[in-house]
Amino acid sequence: MRRRDKLAFKLRVVIGTLLIGAIGFCLLSVSLAAKEKIIYMSTPWGVPSKNLLAEFEKQTGIEVEVTTIGDEKALRDKVMIATAGGIAPADVIFVGITNVGVFSSGRSIVQLDEIVSPDLLEKLTGADLFRIGGYLYSVPIYQQLVMIDYDSSVLEKMGAPVPTTWEEFTQLCREIKQKGIRKYPITFGARAWSWYLIALSMGGVLFDEELNPTFHQPDSGGLGAMKLLRDFFEEELISAERITSVNPHPSFWAGEAVFHQAWQGSLTIANNPETSKIAPNAKYILLPDEHFTWSLPAALGISAFSNKKDEAYKFIVWFTKAEIQKSLYEAYGMFPANKAAFAALGEAGKIEGFDVMAEQARFVRRIPYRAPWYTEFENEANDTIKRMVRDQISPEEAVGHLANYVYELKKEYE
């Protein structure tokens, strides 16, 4: 009896200790887990290196978990679904300019005017582009002009001058193809961006002040650009693969084309022998004809459903620091929105093709990204261009259809 009691007692002591230990452990882990953590959702080209993120964690105690989504469209889908479900897909969201209209009208990201200090915005370019209805929705992290770059070794071989009009451009490409130097000299995807590129630089305005379409008018750059794009595909100056695989970059970097729709800073990739076969011959060309282009910057926003908004803001501030900005440039060719960082890079001579870019930067137009209907329009434009390039509809029908589409969208969103 006594031994049994002693045993029972010992057992109780052991169990008691274990229990206390377990509870203690739980409490401890809970408090440890309460170490701040935020989620940053981004496209692959908006992700800082692991080292930098570790440094951020050391400095602020905030752990950043990065989730990468392949492209802006997929990212948009994820955010919209999450918004519909009423949850935050992440605390900090990468907001490409294409998505700012949709994210703001869909209430996926919060207005930042109360949180962001004006000093921060002073240091950055492009904050204006992310203001809608006067409210700031995200903090810019890089600026980006759409440009065209080319493989200069081919032009040298042919002894040809750099084209300054679309006619010269087309003629040159025909020659390149005829001489068998490159089979598909142009790599533009069968998508809206290629159309914008040609249309804007032809001098077209695409939309007027009230965001009504002007691109369907007979003498507008819009229609002309559609026709030229169609011709490019018809004459096989662009490979038909660009219809189903619209991303034009890999084929340029693989050395298959001569001219390529690129971005301000893309030479970092094009002239890096590790990532491109045509290094070091890539150069920018000022867009032909009227030279106008548009910009595709990106910014960081805070999810409307996040409960870590302060930490999120700290991350954004850190992201705009010169050091981080420079690393983005070096890794992805994305130009810092941080003015000082940009100037420093320029002075250090690290920016290739600076002259052409500076010249190009004088000719910029706006695309109606702020409209809540913009992304639907872009989707429809992508589809329509695909049909046109497959000869299912004519360029006139394409622009006509798109113009109608915009009118209907505008009516709906009134």
């Binding site: 031994r3 049994r4 469209k73 889908d77 919209m80 679904i81 918004t83 519909a84 949709v102 009208s105 869909g106 209430r107 490979s239 038909a240 693969e241 219809i243 189903t244 084929s251 298959e256 809540p372 209907w373 639907e376 989707n379 589809d383 695909k386 049909r387 497959r390 299912q392 709906e412 969103y413």
Partner: protein, 320 residues
């Protein structure tokens, strides 16, 4: 030295414990021995699971289908009744997607049944290495549809793809062609991708049915002087009819809802926009949950009718 405690008569508490246990065992055995309760016990978690994973969200989205729900304009969500359904049925893009889907399904059914029948007839004969062939034939079916789509995309690539390489090698084409450019061909290739993956399953189904046909029928037919062709026509096919019907319905159900392969093969390219792809685009890319859900329910009604006739045909064929 330890001494074992002597055995003692069960104490009062111990006796009560034993009695309770017996009572408990008895009631448990009532449950596990009674058909009704056992059934309910087992089915309960299943029913709950399916409710929350399927029916409840389905009811949610049915609700959505009755509303104007544009995720870009969350403050404008409102009830519109059957308006979405009317709009969808009148939508020209819907009709186009429907046409493509019907084409896809019809071709898929035709090709799969034909090829699977041929394959199963071959596999029904005995020859050395038959089981190895059988195992290899089944491989395409195991491939995840997503990767299947990617594989065919690469195969058909206009730059360095397999098809171009092989045709070029045999001198059948003089230069590489972009196979997915022409919209009609793109749809055909999408269908072929699905057919390639799905055929093995049907082959096995038909093989099973073939193997249950008694050999005596063939023997007696041969005695009567029947050739191979009439054996096939008069014995095999009629006896296969029930299984062919089942296979047909199964193929239809799966072909109707193909998504993964088309998504990786051509994405949301208009040329291959079947009903599923169009619905996905409406709901997730254009953010219109209202109309997207309505479209889904229209598809769902089709599917239900097919499933219903499937189940009915099983019961009918069982009697047959």
């Amino acid at each position: 030295m330890r001494k074992r405690a002597p055995l003692q008569a069960p104490s009062q508490t111990l006796r009560m414990k034993i009695r309770n246990k017996q009572k408990w065992q008895r009631s448990l055995s009532v449950i596990i021995d009674n058909q009704k309760w056992l059934a309910y016990l087992i089915l309960a978690p299943v029913v709950i699971l399916i409710f929350f994973m399927a029916y409840f969200p389905a009811i949610q989205s049915f609700r959505f289908s009755l509303m104007y729900y544009n995720t870009r304009l969350p403050e404008r969500i409102h009830f519109v009744g059957l308006n979405n359904y009317v709009r969808i049925l009148k939508d020209p893009l819907f009709l186009e997607a429907l046409k493509r889907t019907v084409y896809f399904v019809v071709i898929a059914v035709g090709m799969i049944l034909g090829i699977a029948l041929a394959f199963s007839l071959v596999l029904n004969k005995s020859f050395k290495g038959r089981s190895i062939l059988r195992a290899l034939v089944i491989v395409p079916w195991a491939i995840p549809p997503v990767i299947n789509g990617f594989m065919w995309k690469w195969l058909l690539s206009g730059d360095f793809g397999f098809l171009n390489g092989i045709l070029y090698q045999f001198g059948l084409i003089s230069s590489y062609k972009p196979w997915l450019k022409d919209p009609f061909m793109a749809l055909n290739w999408a269908t072929l991708t699905f057919v390639w993956r799905f055929t093995p399953f049907v082959t096995i189904l038909l093989l099973g049915a073939l193997q249950s046909i008694p050999l005596e029928l063939y023997d007696s037919a041969k005695v009567d002087g029947a050739g191979a062709r009439s054996c096939l026509w008069h014995i095999t096919l009629p006896l296969l009819r029930p299984m062919l019907t089942i296979a047909l319905i199964i193929i239809m159900i799966f072909a109707f809802t193909v998504f993964d392969e088309i998504y990786t093969l051509t994405g949301l390219d208009p040329a291959t926009k079947t009903l599923m792809m169009y619905g996905y685009e409406l709901a997730f890319e254009k953010g219109r949950f209202g109309i997207g859900s309505a479209l889904a329910y229209v598809i769902g009604i089709f599917m239900f009718l097919i499933t219903y006739s499937y189940i009915k045909s099983i019961y009918r064929e069982v009697k047959y």
